[in-house]
Symmetry: D2
Subunit: 289 residues, 4 copies
């Protein structure tokens, strides 16, 4: 369901230890403030004893504003020991994108944004190469060239960090950015830093996955969008997909076919994230797709 | 989630005009009778103003039995003008299967049943051919041979109807049964009579769909499981899937490849039905898969 | 296999009544002119008694140029009553693109072209709307605005025709061009005019297929790239694909999800065409994908 | 194309160092003995400089019998240093199946065989459990119970080996046989011993792949059919496929969903093998599917 097409809504996202009566109390609360549920998703992880919930609430009839909602809900949240937030869906998230030399993921995301499919603002694109500047600027988006020299990466990362901060990013997307992200950025943007890995994880972790796929003779190749953690390629998986290859697919064909999977898997992963459909716990992500 | 692996549960399925507070009141009711929600699915059809809900409730802690649950819930159901039922998941449905000459769908369902994957009883199989008798009887299931002569189909259908009634069927599955079902059976088993059509509906309605697919030169063929209504191949769709074919696929290859899709699409459709995941309204089915 | 990455090659495409010895004589011919086969695909349609063949031949060692090849091969072609052509793969085809208001297919194709994935020239884009001008021109491609007023379509089509002729188009692509193509253009570009239909043909022929898919409650939606003939949506199918939808997919979601399928199905279809992988006979296409 | 439906054919399978004129000479040879090519597949691995070819030849018009064909072809084969064989397709291969406790793969293969979809003989099934005896024997196939006690596996493997030899097996299929195959059997049946691994290799090598998949939070699970070599799960891959799972899929759901993928991936892999569509070189398999 396209969230932003549904009039003005809030999205309430919670997770907590499972208990009797959570749904009843949360939905009672929503009804009491005159909220109408447009969409509601639950999940109970029985093995783990954990409960996840996402509610999209129509705002028009609400008797409280978002601050009032937050204030009133806090008590209930405390009672069930919830991790939670409520977000005004009308307010777009600010997404800073990082890219390197490859254009396919970035071009795809920019086109989706430009044609109003991706509900966010893109305050800037940062790249360690200059080649995508013109494409980015055509979209009316500032482009920052931050080269990452082998001998002094820290300086580059400091500069990137400063740009990201200045633009007040809610989310950072690595659109085939080919540098390892420093731990401090991983920590700062935990659960808000999304990467696209060009293999079906956990197959072919690390560099050059298409070569590895070619060498192993697999019959499907894939891509994985995931949150970045300090452990390379080990973060919570948001979305994955695959495409068929054959013995006649050389490595270059795999790269080409893989691009299409990368594009769509990153776009879907980012969409789920922006629509508050993803709740991370430990190394796994609940995705109410 | 495999329903029958979760201890003793009830499944409460409702649909009604959308309104504020439904979820709150239903889940409040469940909490008040000390029920714990194992799984809960909602859907609001905004265009149609209709609300759908399925709740799986742990029975162990419940303060009422199923009759008590029904009696108590009726008042709430009336308030929201619900179509609803609650079912004891432990109680297996009785599924009568109809087949003709082709064995693949029936063999697949019988194997799933035999290996405890399909949570139902199969009181009997009815066929208008004798060739599958031994396979059915090996599974310990009675086999009824009811030929359908062209000149007197009504007599055959009366006999079938009598057998189905005698076995007190909850659901009837047409596992590639190649006769048109008479209207009275369609009406009697509305929403409980499942067919597998060997095409991706609405493509290739009617007979010989693989020949039609071959003649049209399509690049994917498919199958559709749907509830049977009086309008041939027009009933609510439960599940569909496709498989790739090419110019080198002759009609016989399509038939062969199609069998695998038919098997899995019918098995999934029946599973959704047996787990109370399907709610029909008009000609469409909400499927909480 | 990415054709243009393989050094200089010719592509020889033939079809003819099946007979003993065709492959032997064709490949003998190729060997005799010192050609090395890089890729070779055959298909025998047994029902139809027809033979199809595509050969990619390395040019470096060839003892003849393309004119010599053509001249020498003609005799063999006559012997087997072949429909055939040989093409210098290095020479890019000229592809004129037609679009309307929707940008997704055009943007996708332009990006593939811009990043050297699509081996062709795009001499111009023609549209009956102005909104995509800037995007097209950013790629350095001329944009022609040819409005198609309801009261005088013929004049517009004459103008389009003139532009297409002036640019000496080998192939015309309808990248979600929402006007019915006049018969004379269909005839003139028979087997070289490619459309993307936004449904899984033959389902939902004609206008508004997503609405029809929504109304029917299908569980998969699709797209079809096909050659345009005078019979609307009835031409030879090159490529198709589908994507899963559910009861929670409103029509707008189907439109959004469908865009991704349309993009990739059109891009794949065009790629097959440009690589001479498609041989049409009657209303069906052999595709050596 | 269903091979055995095409009248009497021979299948000629070759691979050799790439060279100019191979196809010409092989197809010339076939034409010279009056053979008609029903299906022909080639592949040139450019990186590796290796050529692969499979030809299905109609026998009716042939001027030689299979011994004559072999004798005559040997000279040509020597010239190009070919690895090759020619097989009378009418002569069914003998496939011995090994199973353990799980029935799904074996039941699926037996049903395909029983309904004439799988073109082979099954001289016997061997299992280290008794539970599948009745199912196997219903099909009219001898069942051998060979328990594999932890303390003396060699004795069991000797017994198995003796049974396989006695039945003169061409191919051995591990239909979810849960014992590690001893090296001498791997060597003896190199390229003729097919396993189904219940993960998308190289993900989740070794035991308990569904638990590992669940723990990693992947969004797709898969299965792989491959030739068995001494390196566990490292042999040449014949076929793979995947199915979507989600956060609501518990490990048991993955096991259940995975069964369907395992069944079809093993059946397709075995089919390709039986139709001589697979040519192994090193650790990779060319599959003319």
């Amino acid at each position: 369901m396209i969230q932003e097409n549904k009039g003005h809504t809030f999205c309430l996202v919670t997770s907590c230890p499972d208990a009797v009566g959570i749904v009843a109390e949360v939905t009672r609360f929503v009804a009491d403030v005159n909220g109408s549920l447009i969409e509601s998703n639950h999940h109970t992880d029985i093995a783990d004893g954990w409960f996840y919930m996402r509610n999209v609430i129509a705002v028009d009839s609400l008797s409280v504003d978002i601050e009032g909602f937050r204030k009133n809900f806090a008590e209930l949240a405390d009672k069930f020991d919830m991790k939670w937030y409520v977000r005004d869906v009308q307010k777009k998230q600010k997404v800073v994108m990082l890219a390197s030399h490859s254009s396919h993921c970035l071009a795809d995301l920019l086109h989706r944004w430009h044609s109003n499919e991706l509900h966010c603002d893109i305050p800037c694109v940062i790249s360690n190469h200059e080649n995508l500047r013109s494409m980015v600027e055509w979209h009316g988006i500032p482009f920052h060239y931050v080269p990452v020299p082998k001998e002094d990466k820290q300086d580059a990362f400091d500069k990137m960090n400063e740009i990201i901060e200045r633009h007040d990013a809610d989310t950072v997307v690595l659109a085939r950015y080919m540098q390892i992200i420093p731990p401090e950025l991983c920590t700062k943007f935990q659960g808000r830093l999304i990467n696209i890995h060009h293999s079906f994880l956990p197959s072919f972790i690390g560099g050059n996955p298409y070569q590895k796929a070619y060498d192993r003779g697999v019959k499907l190749i894939g891509a994985t969008s995931h949150y970045v953690t300090e452990d390379l390629d080990e973060g919570p998986i948001i979305e994955q997909d695959v495409i068929r290859v054959s013995h006649s697919s050389e490595k270059d064909d795999m790269v080409r076919l893989g691009r299409d999977v990368e594009k769509s898997v990153l776009a879907r992963g980012l969409r789920y994230h922006l629509e508050d459909r993803v709740i991370v716990r430990g190394n796994k992500a609940v995705v109410f797709s």
